[in-house]
């Protein structure tokens, strides 16, 4: 089971769960599983075309998936996937 690490800014969309485990075999499938389980997180990390948003970084281990195989990056049974959004202290745009 691969484990997705949910950053604190997005945990409000995952019922405060810090991790999400999945049998998915690629990063893209794992994200799909996550958004299926917690639908409100979907617009936070995926754009209207279902692509990972530009202000969200996905790392497998310590590596950016862009440098591996993007959303097709394979997941092993003990892979740790980190979702790392851009954060900016006191942004006041909402």
């Amino acid at each position: 089971m691969a484990t997705l690490i949910i950053p604190t800014p997005l945990r409000k969309y995952t019922e405060d769960q810090a991790t999400f485990t999945t049998d998915a075999t690629t990063v893209g499938q794992a994200i799909q599983e996550l958004t299926k389980r917690y639908s409100n997180i979907s617009p936070q990390i995926l754009d209207a075309n279902g692509k990972i948003r530009n202000f969200i970084k996905i790392f497998v281990g310590e590596d950016d998936i862009r440098g591996i195989d993007g959303e097709n990056t394979p997941l092993g049974s003990d892979t740790v996937v980190s979702i790392v959004p851009a954060i900016a202290g006191g942004i006041s745009n909402l």
Binding site: G89, G90, L94
Partner: protein, 384 residues
């Protein structure tokens, strides 16, 4: 940086910095480098406070500080640079007084102004290193771009609630913030610090890490955190380091750079709308709203004020405070008209803009808010 060979340390300075000088990796040479260095701190808030204190204490010879704010009592929970006596004072003035009393051997240059595309390059060119402790995306991208254009390393830190990030950008031609995040989140997708909050000690931790990286960059010791992103989750006490690599699409440093000058960062971050492509926020008058209610039309009404305001007076709408609106998408209908209101219309406009960014096209702003409704339709209800 000033010529290190020309830097002299007085007897008092040698005594003051003795615990530095006896570290073999730093030594007298390192201390002279600290004195020769000119470091610009962007913001004297939660991150800037500890960074300023430690860099001043460490003997950075020239510290520049840019901030246009005044000290507020809500700052004191984390901005340890200030005391209650500073409330109401200009931050740069209060900070300068504090720093100079901590270390009279250094020079402090203050800029009581907002960092803008007009002044950034002029200010940056006089410094060796920038420490970015800003609290918003427009300034973050501005600092990044100005550092790239002036060739200055950018020691970056950012926080949100319990999460922190640190990295060193533009160090000896290394990656910059745009390689990590090509674009900021659109407005409304991430709640603000005022709404989201921040654990006061977190900027203390991250600001100290930032100061540590500044000292490494200035003295040349160790391995600066270039090409790597450090993240800290204070709740789980989890630290991680990720690799950052160059983005070929980076408009500044990618394969085909397209951006040669500083831009309008408010616009870039979606805070200023393109008047041509702006999605309008449609309105409904309180009279029409009353009519729709009387006709028992199938509508949803959402109040985006705070719970204590709702307790004071409400018109039976569903309460979803502005700061939590994107957490409650499952409660916001897409199939019928949704009327959004606040006290007088500003917050509901922002809520609608945020929701329209997420695909809603059925939203109406109640013109004049609940105050307008009370005045025109139900004057028996209390005003506040």
């Amino acid at each position: 940086m000033k010529n290190v060979d020309e830097i002299l340390l007085s007897k008092e300075e040698l005594a003051r910095y003795s615990r530095h000088i006896i570290i073999p990796e730093l030594g007298l040479e390192g201390q002279k480098r600290l004195k020769a260095a000119k470091v610009l701190i962007i913001g004297s808030g939660g991150l800037g406070s500890p960074a300023l204190l430690y860099l001043a204490a460490a003997g950075i010879g020239t510290i520049g500080l840019i901030d246009f704010d005044t000290v507020d009592d809500s700052n004191l929970q984390r901005q340890v640079l200030f005391s209650v006596n500073d409330i109401g004072k200009l931050k740069v003035e209060a900070a300068k007084n504090r720093i100079q009393s901590l270390n009279p051997h250094i020079e402090v240059i203050t800029y009581n102004e907002r960092l803008t595309s007009e002044n950034a390059l002029r200010i940056f060119k006089d410094y060796d290193v920038v420490a970015d402790g800003t609290d918003n995306f427009p300034t973050r991208y501005l600092v990044n771009d100005a550092c790239v254009m002036t060739g200055i390393p950018n020691v970056y830190a950012s926080i949100y609630r319990f999460d922190g990030q640190v990295s060193v950008f533009n160090y000896e031609g290394g990656v910059n913030y745009r390689d990590l995040y090509p674009e900021p989140p659109p407005p409304g997708l991430v709640p603000s610090c005022a709404e989201g909050g921040v654990l006061g000690v977190l900027p203390g931790i991250m600001g100290c890490l930032q100061a540590n990286e500044v000292i490494k960059v200035v003295t040349g010791i160790g391995e600066p955190l270039s090409g790597r992103l450090f993240t800290f989750d204070a709740l789980g006490f989890t630290t991680r380091i990720f690799k950052i690599f160059k983005d070929p699409q980076n408009p500044l440093t990618g394969d085909n750079p397209t951006q040669k000058t500083l831009i309008d960062y408010e616009f870039f971050c979606g805070l200023k709308h393109d008047p041509i492509n702006k999605k309008p926020v449609n309105e409904i008058t309180v009279q029409d709203f009353k009519k729709w209610k009387d006709e028992a039309r199938d509508i949803q009404v959402i109040d985006v004020r705070e719970p204590h305001e709702y307790e004071l007076v409400n018109i039976g709408a569903q309460l979803i405070p502005l700061g939590t609106i994107t957490e409650h998408l499952d409660q916001i209908r897409k199939d019928i008209p949704v009327i959004v209101h606040c006290k007088s219309g500003a917050r509901s406009t922002r809520a609608i803009e945020a929701l329209q960014n997420l695909g809603y096209d059925n939203l109406l702003n109640l013109k004049g808010g609940i105050l307008g409704y009370i005045k025109e339709i139900e004057p028996s209800l209390p005003l506040y």
